[in-house]
Chain length 337, copies 2
DNA sequence: TCGCGATCCTACAACGATGCAGAATCACGG
DNA sequence: CCGTGATTCTGCATCGTTGTAGGATCGCGA
């Protein structure tokens, strides 16, 4: 059926290993031979068989990226950067969606599908500290998102606590005192939600503002609809607030929409601050002030880190944690002052 | 290094072929033997080697999805559905980004990377009619998006002309007469842009409204920024309009943002209509009336169609074109009346 | 002329799985 | 007690490639 090294070799009148050598850029080949072979490759349209190649060499040329879902713009934009970075190194990217579900994340780590790739970049939204053992896998692994697993693996992440502390202080500096929050996870102990809440509380404490759980709203998933829902609940509770910090942009955007439906003016009555700096944050009405966590840097660095592990001697490297810088992007929904 | 069939066989005291039979669910195996083997598999943690498997069987268990970029929400949501549908059939999805660039699309069709998969779902944004020959590839291929290639391949797409005609008529029925358009491609002849423009013109003609190119704005890429840019240009031209039809939601949202910055009221002064029904269209201010092209159906159907081709006898099937139903979703930016 | 290292090419054995053909065992009717 | 067909298991060849080892050829100095 398909053209193989042998077919090319027959046409070129050399041994099939010589064709292999040409394809792989082995240096010691006479120009005449090389040309003969290349012509044969062109006329037959030979393309190497990646299965055979990786069976022999142990490398597949693919990496896997596992995120909760591409529906969430943050992960879509992240995936876009990861795929682009991988392509730079001639790797293809296989995308898995876990739904942020613990069981599916654990299953993925055990899955035979992982043997189709040279390594995995995983955002373990659902896993818990006691699942650390599951991270003891035979393939190179880079975790995204700040998590405190008791397991020495590579991490590429952002400074969640610092960033939300800075965000909250930004709101405080602009004169807000009653700062509501959307995105708490009730029983989660290691994820971004918990860390971001901590940064928020630290900032409050540093400025002598009391923590009031009546203006803290849960949202387990971070879709627009969840932000909208949380905001409706906050409004229903009746506790006053003059700012809202959405733990990501989609939550903030959903919340902002509900605020405006309810006749609340943004930012005059309530300032809104997001987290992620999605493309769309610049185009909402009003445009969204947000914390930019350095998505592109994270994506690029995750791929680099994984490649170092995959490469020769990679398994000997000590576990590394790499932190992105953040930045507050001022827009209309929360002016600096 | 890794555990193989042989290792399992040794531990279980059977031939390695028997282990293979167990793994593949061959029926004639004594329960006792099966159990022995399964226990050995479990203790050793055996996982089949997909490279070896696909070298032998010719099937890889992966499909490729090529879209312009995941940054564009439409494609992110589409990819999300495709990946989910593929997973239902135990296939992993390898995502490629072409940037909508003709050369990269053509290169992808020739790329050896394609041999890592059983087939490709491609949205050929940049290809031209004269590139039809490039579609003559050795692997199963399903095209997304309505294109008039002179090549008999499978298509899954939406009724672009009908949908934009209906959208335009919706605006006309609500009393608008000067309907601007954003998203024309100048020199493209086969893509959605051209088809959507045709639907628009058909609707105008049917209602005796003159086509005025002063209110038709180009946008080669369909990001929010492009919509914003196009709207600034429209405003600068000074030609009056009482509605805008963005050829996708992000264009419409970018344009809507600029309108409101300029003090134009939506929908009182100008109605805005989008196309795609993205998640975010429901949360903008005002929420976006839009044409829903049935993204999920398209994704599911594309995977199904590809699977039929991949399956036994698939290459004998006649080329098929499958059309999704569309629907106009009424929201605030363009009320029905 | 010979020896020797560089250069160019080839032969053979893997990598880990599956398909096929067939050997061994078993059940059961005549 | 044997023949026959189903059941259960094994052995071998094979998929297309790369790594290793080594054979041929060549240039060049001794």
């Amino acid at each position: 059926m398909a053209v193989t090294l042998r077919d090319v070799a027959d046409l070129a009148g050399v041994s099939f290993k010589t064709v292999s050598n040409v394809v792989n850029g082995y240096p010691h080949i006479r120009p005449a031979t090389r040309e003969k072979v290349e012509r044969a490759i062109a006329t037959l349209g030979y393309k190497p068989n990646p299965s055979a190649r990786s069976l022999r060499s142990g490398r597949t040329g693919a990496i896997a990226l596992a995120v909760p879902e591409l529906n969430l713009s943050y992960f879509a934009e992240l995936a876009s950067f990861v795929i682009a970075a991988a392509e730079q190194s001639d790797l293809v990217t296989l995308v898995e969606q876990t739904g942020g579900d613990r069981d599916r994340e654990l299953a993925l780590l055990q899955s035979p599908r992982m043997r189709m790739t040279d390594g995995l970049i995983l955002d373990p939204l659902g896993m818990r500290p006691e699942d650390a053992d599951a991270l003891d896998v035979a393939f190179p692994l880079v975790l995204l998102g700040e998590r405190s697993f008791d397991w020495p693996s590579d991490h590429v992440t952002m400074r969640n606590v610092d960033a939300t502390r800075a965000g909250t202080e930004y709101l405080i500096a602009s004169g807000r005192r009653r700062i509501a929050v959307i995105g708490e996870h009730e029983d989660e102990v290691i994820g971004s939600a918990r860390l971001r809440l901590r940064g928020y509380r630290e900032a409050l404490a540093a400025h002598g503002i009391e923590y009031d759980e009546r203006i803290v709203a849960k949202a387990t998933l971070w879709h627009r609809a969840d932000g909208a829902h949380a905001m409706r609940e906050l409004l229903a509770r009746g506790a006053a607030f003059d700012a809202v910090f959405g733990f990501n942009d989609t939550l903030a955007l959903g919340a902002m929409r509900v605020l405006q439906e309810a006749g609340v003016r943004v930012p005059e009555d309530v300032a809104v601050l997001g987290f992620d700096n999605l493309d769309e944050a610049a185009y909402s009405i009003p445009s969204l002030t947000t914390v930019d966590p350095g998505r592109e840097w994270i994506a690029r660095t995750a791929v680099e880190t994984l490649l170092e592990r995959i490469g020769p001697g990679g398994s000997k490297l000590p576990p590394r944690t790499r932190l992105a810088d953040f930045e507050i992007v001022e827009r209309e929904s929360a002016p600096r002052m």
